[in-house]
Amino acid sequence: MNRMFPISAAILALCVSLPLLAQTGADAGQQLYKTHCFVCHGQEGESIPGVSFRSGKFRRASTDEELARLILNGIPGTGMPPTNLTVDDRRNLVLYLRSMHSAGADATSEGNIANGKAIFEGKGGCVSCHRVAAMGSRSGPDLSDIGSLRNESYLAKSLLDPDHAIAPSNRFIHAVTKQGVVIDGRRLNEDTHTIQIIDKQERLMSLNKSDLREFTLVKASSMPSYRAKLSQQEITDLVSFLLSLKEPQ
């Protein structure tokens, strides 16, 4: 019995200090991130197309050990070089990478997810442009995993002030061919000579710029502001629903 107290105290102390240790490690990892990762991956870990640290998912690693191994060895065939970071440094860097996900994408608002879903599918009319899982239109961006990619404040801003939150990659275009055919759709890709779009009838189209008489990038969002259409509580519920969308279906 005499020995139980110190052991319990030690366990208690460990339980109290573990989160603190993790935080300290993540802070150290943040410095390592700035030194070794920032230039390519960017502040939010989203600078490389197809790679999002905020999503909490890594294509080539699942466990912390696998992530640490990638940090050590780099990824052959890509721009990611090996490092000579110590075991502790790699552990701390992994802690920070994990925290990039939990710091933003796991956040939830205080709304009612079920109410938000009902608004999304009903009153809000969101499905007329957006798709979640297998339901809704493809003409706007698919939101099936938006909760992994965006945080609460970004989503709220998108609903209230769509023009200022629209990602340039989601712009719509308005084009008129030399034959006078009007084409409107969401730009999927563009280069010097061509534009690829999905139009409102969900047709994938590739346009040659040389065939167009008129081509305009529509900078205003085609989504209306919900400032006057939904109450504050409804906005909160809708944001909660969107934040709950984590995985592509």
Binding site: V39, P82, D191
Partner: protein, 538 residues
Amino acid sequence: MKISALCLFPLLLSAQVSFDRLLHADREPQNWLTYSGALSGQRYSLLDTVTPQNVRNLELKWVFQARSLEKFEATPLVVDGVMYFAEAPNHVFALDAKSGRVFWDYDYHPSKDARVCCGSVNRGLAILGDTLFMGTIDARLIAIDSKSGRPIWNTEVGDPKLGYSVTHAPLVVKDKVLVGVAGGEYGIRGFIAAYEAKTGKEAWKFYTVAGPDDPGGKTWAGDSWKNGGSPAWLTGSYDPSLNLVYWGTGNPGPDWNGDDRAGDNLYSDCAVALDADTGKLKWHFQFTPHDEFDYDAVQIPVLVDSNWQGRPRKLLMWANRNGFFYVFDRQTGKFLAGSPFAKINWATGLDEAGRPMRAPNSAPTPEGKLIYPNLFGATNWYSPSFSPRTQLFYIPTWQDSNMTMAKMTQKYVPGQRYTGGLPRAANAGGRRGTRSTPVEDSAYGSILALDPQTGKKKWEFKMTDVTDSGVLTTASDLLFAGGREGYFYALDARTGAELWRASLGGQMEAGPITYAVDGKQYVSIAAGQALFTFALRD
């Protein structure tokens, strides 16, 4: 030169590649004997059977698919019908240049200690006699038998554990093989070194970071020179009449924080002219003194003999990553002219000696400064071209690029990144994915034709996305280049008009070449993870 004229040199076929042949590469335009096609660095070919009139009939002849998923940055060599290059990181191939079929390959496996900032790449090989030379990403120089692919010797250039690597094509001068090192983001002390072609023994070494007792040593505060960077990761050029080698050097380290390296930091961001036999510095010119923007002067030095203000002069032309185009007297290093070819805000201009006048408050701060051009530069290592026929200088450019450059305090740890900064929010450089969609205020790419006499733009061929492609010009006034969008173009070198294009499905990060076999002219370019070769329809 018409193809029939090529038959005047039948004795060259299957002969060893003497240094005399390298000196007079213009006598055998059917071959591509050095990284830039000639020691002058002009990337200009005398072949002229593909013309502005028939170029629309170019068709794909063969494709070489690389096994590596790393960037394919290599410029091939072509010697008497055999093509040589290395796919990343250091896997050498010899192919039939007519069919693309493989004769042999040599797969060197670099040490796991190798670390490179920006891709485990190889930009090409050099040849002398029957021997190929390859620099490796674990900082070795390897001699390889060009007939069999067997290694002959393998010598250490630098310590890969400290971040030294060799990514560029070596330069053969006389009986020596010259290479520089990469590693400017790892706190190396850069150098250019010459090795005996026969043995691999080091002949001379020129440190591109002046030591405390060297001339220029006072341009580094304290011990900062020890980790001063200043790499030399691209091939130099050579003038036999002056026996001078010209080479560009890279950024001082740490890249974005100059606090601990007060001074100009010689010989970072310089053009250096070295005695080819001894490596002694003849002259230097520093493009970006006390660089805090990562503006490596790592470009191909282009040597041009031309009239300058009415009299013949040996010129050196240089389009720099910092946004300025320069012309020098390459005998003396005298600055003759300079002007910006892209939007810049870090300098207000050049003074009479060519030194940039730094814009007030342009140094990176912890919070960050918006700087034009961004760290990738207004151009970079991508080969420019000079056509003696048009007298124009052609630059692959990034226009209107910017980036917020922020500095941070960083301690040097051997073998770890040592950049001292947090560059972010570039308006170009992030479009390396499957799509090239521009966003508002995106930088764009272009091929820019400059009149070197005035620095004025003659024409500009704009691309939506930026370009990492080199430029080739020919004696029929064609220009070949590509971009990140995957298009490979033939342009009219006099007007910039597009004459032909092919969609290759991968970005071009290499320089095009042209060569001929059995009288037929070919054009090759690496795109994505493959090498594509075109010729006129039979």
